[in-house]
Subunit: 334 residues, 4 copies
């Protein structure tokens, strides 16, 4: 297996997700951990290996670095993408590209000028359940796809600090469902309509954001998409996809922390609540995403989840946000 | 139990549903079967009892007739309601009141002028599963209600003749889900947004109608409603309701024609497709609806599913139809 | 449909089960309710119809009585069977025939001498779930049958008075599973082995009886049967059958009092406990059993569940009881 | 974490299971791969690391070897156990100890004389599902345990060569269920009763062995155990445990190769067959078993699954085999 030396850009939460996955992959070697603050780089480097570095130019000039995995704060993605593209390094970038279409378009222009293999980390595509559903749909198992629905409810609202920097619930979270639905459907919506409410945390509403949303999208083929999201969910992290086609229905089911089915004087056939959150639920997806990146780079093929997928998902998410504010259906700005 | 003598108005498909249920109910007696064509009345009368009659005035003047059950074609509902109201007879009327708000409003004006106990046959409220869900929501079992979704997919499209007279898919079918959602939520939408496609039978599209629709509704409380409907469904009559609240989730599950769970070389834990359609699936609901009517009339209380519920459901269904045509969110004309 | 006039023998709990079912069946008419104490007969008669009578000879001589349904205490079954057989009346008798093989054999001898249509009320064969499973097995859906298992657990132990008169747990309850298993398998065991414990109510153990038993039976074909019974079950009346064949597995699932699936902070996909007991769970089976009887009598064919099935089930149940006492495998005394 | 250098004894199928798990465990280092034929040792060594060795004495004298993992053919287990015990090395031995109680007793005598930490590889105890069930039972979640049942059906019969060397179906396979049931119950049976048939492969019957068995065991507490085994199963590797207690029921459910639930014109809520076999199904259990061994050795505590557990399970399995041959209940020779 061709080995790729990786520079891991960033040392935050997502760096702690990618570090171990890079180490677990037989075709990837963690060569560098980068952070402008060298102390942070050293800390992560001690945990997962790789040389700590704080100078971006030297990282990108390092002959051991074959590719970069960008796991920095969202507002720095474009900067690192452009630098890596100029240096000719293949790029895996945690989603989203950016929170504004303007910056994304600048980024896409630069990537056109400096073409390198590029993959956006829409990890849910690489979740084995979602991936099996996409394959079954693509294989025609349910005939023509007519409806596609995604339920995605989080256990509890994030801290307000996170909410404020998130770009809004649609751009922060619904974007995952949007990309997944478009990828499974194999097409992008003509128009979207969204409703948003604030029912769990009034502070979120005070920021002009929502913690409960529902979205409906019409596809060119006539297929209709439904997405529902909630920032809070009493029974845990609820993740279900349902694809309804002319010949049948496919459903993914929630994963279980606890293997037992329980019967008692108060309930029967019961399972415990879903205690995990996305890092546990989608743990495997990060590995499979890196594997897709490795395969694409080493075999010279286009990776699943390109920069244009990222732009489209953002355009759709912004259209949802616009719809929820204005009460009108919105055509995404592709 | 106080006995009510019933005049069954109409001899079509729904009369064959109500005939046996009237006979099964200990508080109801089938006194008269009415149809302007006496031969039709005689035929149904032979099957379920009651005297065949073809003269509306004599029916309504008959001292044995305590109440009427209207199961005639939709476009005659208002006429019979007005006649029965003038005669002071309590009325149970199969849904919908009518397909136009104008006629419904005339009807409501007459009912105001001639007040009698009136109940509209929104039978799905009386399905034991839906009714258990409504009670659990009302009892606060899941806290504040945040989302409510209804999946309602029919096995196969009706004949074109039926489609043409139906008032459109929203007014014909979605109206059931609309009434059910409003009843469970305990409130009516501020605005609705619907998408419609024609993917199963192009003839339906040629009539300007849809055979695949999805609807989203915003409630005054902030709760958001989702309804999806399909005129065709490979695996049968799919009927599921899901209520998501602050403290949990409630789901109704599909009924089974076949009790067995099957494991073999091709599948495991499999059930057979849902062979039944609405008459079988909601069989019990018609009995419970008549029981509600009997109780309301004999105990002098307002029945569930009033004429104003009927008007609201129609207004919402028409708003859905308007939204699907115009691509805009529509506020129902309450 | 050929009408059969029925004399209902007995006025206890089972008479209250059969009374309404006789009335519900279009081919049966309740002509007579018999009890040697006329007051009891009058009471039941007032509830379900039929003439109250206290003179057995006059009942059996009554020209309106075409057949008898025996629902008297077990220790009087044989007496009434013999009388009805002598009078040439077709007989439906609630199970068991009797608690001793000696009395059963006397009864069978009399039935041989006075042949009349005879059916034993092994109602669980007529439960739609069990019946669907038997038909699927008979139709070869799972190939050769290799294992058959029955789980039958009751909500709570019966009163001691009932236990003392029951003939023991195997003869009282396991006999149902035994008949069902033999009927589905289409063969009777060569030998049985049973374990019994008393874990719920020490008074039951003090009577030499069990409240927890497990039974294993070897069939001539090589198929192996498992039955487990419990007099107490925290989550309700647990009734499951599993048939394992060369080509697959069939399972019946528990019925639900409550239609909802519940998700909350304490459990997910939960159903409520099974509140019903056998009268509710097997309600439909009594109707179907009477229908089988009606069909057999009016069409002149042998009913399912004959007197020899009754004798065999008793012989097997007694073998189980013997095995549990002696710790040895026992060949039933067929 | 204290590191243990491991000598992996054996290079067959189970060595390929333990090799990767030793490498995956942060507290274990694969130091030596032993096989009397050095070429075999070299091959496995190239795959998983460790030095290839063919001289037992040198392996056991090697200072880098802190413990041995025995994964050799069953009939050599005792020899290597004794050698390792004499050398004072902690031992993890794949089950069973041996196929005869005589040899096992010799082994236990030697282990008494040369006490070293010893653990038998009853891996199913360490499967997370079984382990969760055992913990829930031990924690009193279902009150007193009354029944315990294990369903264990293999996809297809092994080659006859394997069958002939297996010691018979009870000793080869049922022994897993036996150990698991005794471990969960926390006690060992007073007596066992087994039925065996040969229904899948007549060659197995010709060897005097069975391919379909059922076993019932009575525990000192009054609890009753059921085990059913089949060498063939059309829908795959069926592994289910059910624990019935005074306060409720716990069930483990089958694992899924395929995450989707499928609805179509031929079936609803269907899952695909279980394509995996024990290496995939119980993959995690081998890691957890080695972790238990590591913890026991490094913390100086007795491991779960001792040599006396191994002896008891064999005595019970032999009692089952004896029972199936003689048709009598058998008290195990503890």
């Amino acid at each position: 297996m061709t080995k790729l030396g990786i520079a891991l850009m960033g040392t935050g939460r997502m760096a702690h997700v990618y570090g171990p996955k890079i180490n677990a992959h037989p075709g990837l070697t963690l060569e560098v951990v980068f952070n402008p603050r060298i102390a942070s780089a050293q800390k992560v480097s001690q945990e997962y290996g790789g040389r700590p570095m704080d100078d971006l130019d030297r990282v990108l000039a390092d002959p051991a670095v074959d590719a970069v995995v960008i796991a920095t704060p969202t507002n720095t993605h474009v900067e690192y993408i452009i630098a890596a593209a100029k240096a000719g390094k293949p790029i895996y970038c945690e989603k989203p590209l950016d929170q504004t279409l303007e910056r994304v378009d600048q980024c896409l222009t630069m990537l056109d000028a400096h073409p390198v293999p590029f993959m956006l980390g829409f990890n849910r595509r690489f979740d084995p359940d979602n991936s099996a559903l996409q394959q079954a749909v693509a294989a025609g198992e349910i005939g023509r796809l007519n409806m596609l629905m995604s339920t995605s409810r989080e256990p509890s609202p994030p801290p307000m600090e996170y909410v404020r920097a998130s770009g809004g619930y649609f751009v922060d979270a619904t974007i995952h469902d949007i990309d997944l639905m478009c990828w499974i459907a194999g097409e992008r919506p003509i128009e979207v309509f969204s409703h948003g409410s604030c029912v769990f945390n009034p502070e979120i509403g005070a920021e002009g954001d929502f913690d409960l949303t529902m979205t409906q999208m019409k596809m060119p083929s006539g297929a209709i998409i439904h997405i529902n999201n909630s920032r809070q969910c009493a029974y845990g992290f609820d993740q279900r996809v349902e694809a309804f086609g002319t010949d049948g229905l496919l459903q993914t089911v929630n994963h279980r922390d606890d293997p037992l089915m329980r019967w008692s004087a108060t309930h029967t056939e019961a399972r415990t609540p879903l205690k995990h959150f996305f890092l546990e639920r989608y743990d495997a997806s990060f590995y499979h995403a890196l594997d897709e990146f490795h395969g694409a780079v080493t075999q010279g093929r286009a990776p699943s989840a390109s920069q244009s997928d990222g732009r489209a998902a953002l355009a759709i998410a912004l259209a949802c946000a616009g719809s929820a504010k204005t009460g009108k259906a919105v055509a995404p700005d592709y």
